[in-house]
Each structure stands twice: as C-alpha cells, then as structure tokens.
Chain length 236, copies 2
C-alpha cells in the first residue's frame, strides 16, 4: 500500500548552491518513492514535474518531453498523492495564495504539498539550461535560464511547503512547479494570477531525506563557506 | 530485515527551544525504529540512551532505570545498530575525538552514529529535571539540571553527527550520551578525557524526520521569534 504521509527528498537545496549538480538518483528510482513530485535534471537541466506517475521535463527551450527512467537528478521530491480539498480560490496572486493556504491548512510547522487546478490569467515560469562539468555555482548556473510567460492558461500547479527550520535542506516555505493541461507550457513558478482554482493539500508527518553518500564530490565538499540561505533566496 | 542506513528522528531540536516538551512518541513506538538511540522524556525528563534494545533512563537524581514502553518523549533518535570499526584512540578529549572522527570518517556531509567503548579518566554529564506544564523555554528548563562528574570509568559513549545544514532540526555536529558498563552513571555528555577506546561508526544515507503533527501545541506554535540556533548552542 502506498505511503501517503511521507515526503521523500533526494539531495538538498544546499548542495546545489556550490554547484554539486551531478545526477545522483535516476527517475526510475525516484518513482519508487512517489507518483507525484518535482526536481531538476543533472547540470540543472530544466524543471521536472511528476503528475500521476508521469514525469514531465520542461526544457530551457520551453519544450516539454516525458523523462525516461534513466534521467538522473541532483535534487528531487516525490510522494504518493492523496490530496484533500482545501478551498476554491478566485483572483489571487502567488503571495496571496500562499498566505491563504498557510492560514487555512494551519500546517506551517510540517511538510505538505498543494495542488491547484485552475485557470490563470497570467503565469511566469522558468527553466534552467543544462550545464556541463566543471559546474558553476547555483547562482551562476541559474543565470542561464529561460523565462516564459503565458496568459489565459489552464493547468496544474504542484507545490511543496517546508517549515522554515528546514530551509537549506529544502526551500523554506513554498516551491511551486506548473504544467498546463495541454502539456505545452510549464516550469518552476516565478509568479501568477489565478482567476479561479481548486486548491487541495496533502499533509506529511514524515520527511525522508536521502543524501548522495556515494558521490565523492558531495561527501568531500566543504560547505562552510557557501552562502546557502542567500543563494536559495536569490535562486528560488 | 532491519534497515541499517536510516536514522530515525522524532521531533526537532527547534521544538524544544520554546518549550514544546509534551511527550509525543512512546518508547514502544520509538523502539520499532531502532535498537539504539538517544532522547529525553516528557518535560525534559532526564536523558535516554538505548543500547541493544534496552532504554536506559538517566534521571536528574543520577539514578538510572529502564524506561517502560509507555514513557513518552518530545525528541528522540533511533537506528538499528551495525557499527564498523573506525579507530582505536588514546588520550583524547571530546573536541579532539570529534575532530579525529570527522577526519577519519570523511562523512561530515551525512548523518552518522559513533560508539566509543573505553576507559575515561574523567567524564562530565548532565540530566535535566522533569518540568510540568506550563513549560518554560529550553534555556530556562535546562537551568534546572544536574551535572555529574566521574573519574576512572569504563562505559559506552553513543553519539550522533548531523550535517550543519540540519542544525535546528537536529544538533548540527555531534550529540553524545553516555552510560557506564555497570549502568550506574550516565547522561548527556558535557566533556571527557578518554584514556583508551575503540571507536566504531555507522553511516546513514537517509534521515527520517517524523514530526508531531497530531500535537496542536506544536502545529499552532509560531516559531518565527524563537532563537533556535542560539538556544541550541547554549543548551547542547
């Protein structure tokens, strides 16, 4: 029976900061931990959004393909979906949506996921372009990204919320990815205006943090001089 | 088959800081996640050290009893032991032991446990005294603790190491508990001089963080004004 109360995470946001961008988990392995999730490919290769077991890969070109089981990632989240309705919201931007979700869910001290299915009058996303070794820092790599905007679009926003004390391991607060219903538009969400949407949520009591202990670059890196909090705020 | 690569944690260090000291996991439940571990009882009731499935409870009186399955805890760690030899060390204090373990294990970017079986020329431990609701902050509660010192003693030091990015969730760096071979002396370790000891370690690739989502006090607490990093440094 799938476990619906655990959020699985491979890698940390912190390891992306100095540019530890090697793919250390395959999509095939990640999908054992959930049918729903987000992530990025090796070398910060685009943005991934997994819905109903299908891993959509939003490339820096804007194209969306289905990722193969052999795609590797330095960072990803996954869980088995069992969302419960939270609210139907109208005319809210990202900040207001996040605020209302925290207020309604009363779950800001644990991990949870949200799913918003609705119509957006405007949405802005980004997808980073894959870089190759030697990798640069997250801030430098993220400069090489495409930003996309679209008006009047229906789709699914998949988000994860992490308590602030886990900022660094994860993104403290919300982290949203999006894909349109026609699977032609998506990415890491930078901002939006939601005309009308059904918001559902799924609360976790367990955060299963998996670390790439077989990766020598990760294990030998000295994180003490990395500005993890600053870089996450800037890039996420 | 027991899982030897996962460190289980219930609660966070952060929740102790404002005094969320209610027991939210029972010893019976904790022991399903490991035969080895550490923790504290409800209300910061002493110090727990679990070895070979036996949960020893060091009270503020200095007495040591076996905890029952019904004892509840606000914070605890557990794992299934399978240690590998790391080194035999002589004439080291706590700081030097920690430094050598990090250097030898090359594992400072993941969670691991250490076990030191040896003879100590001196060791200092503490055990907090149980407080009752309304609970005070960790710093205030920890003022009401007993400090014990002992010379020439053989025993087992059980420690956990957490990467610095998880400070707040766990104690960044080392967190050691101790119990003597005769089970008459123990507690949370404040300092020691090890005459000679066998150091073994066990590396984890997964940190399973369980949160007390059924506890309203925890879920409704506003952590934004708590000095989590400062209090952990002061108390641990």
């Amino acid at each position: 029976m799938p476990n619906h109360i655990t959020l699985y995470q491979h890698g940390t946001l912190a390891l992306l900061v100095p540019g530890l961008l090697k793919g250390t988990i395959s999509m095939g392995e990640l999908l054992k931990h959930g049918d729903t999730g987000i992530g990025t490919g090796e070398g910060l290769d685009g943005e991934l959004i997994i819905l109903a077991g299908k891993p959509y890969h939003v490339h820096a070109t804007g194209d969306i393909t289905l990722a193969s089981d052999s795609l590797t990632m330095p960072f990803a989240n996954a869980h088995f979906a069992r969302y419960a309705p939270l609210a139907e919201l109208e005319n809210v931007d990202e900040e207001e949506l996040n605020r209302q979700i925290v207020s309604l869910s009363r779950a800001s001290n644990t991990f949870f996921s949200i799913e918003v299915k609705g119509t957006f009058s405007n949405i802005q996303t980004r997808a980073a372009a894959k870089s190759t070794p030697p990798y640069k820092t997250l801030t430098e790599t993220a400069e090489n990204q495409s930003v996309f905007t679209r008006d009047q679009i229906t789709g699914t926003l998949l988000g994860y919320y992490s308590p602030q004390v886990f900022n660094g391991a994860a993104v403290g607060g919300f982290h949203h990815h999006f894909i349109s219903d026609d699977h032609q538009f998506g990415g890491h969400v930078l901002g939006f205006h939601l005309v009308k949407g059904d918001v559902s949520y799924q609360l976790f009591d367990t955060f299963e943090q998996h670390l790439p202990v077989s990766d020598k670059d990760y294990m030998q890196h000295d994180f003490s001089n990395d500005d993890i909090q600053g870089s996450i705020q800037k890039s996420e």
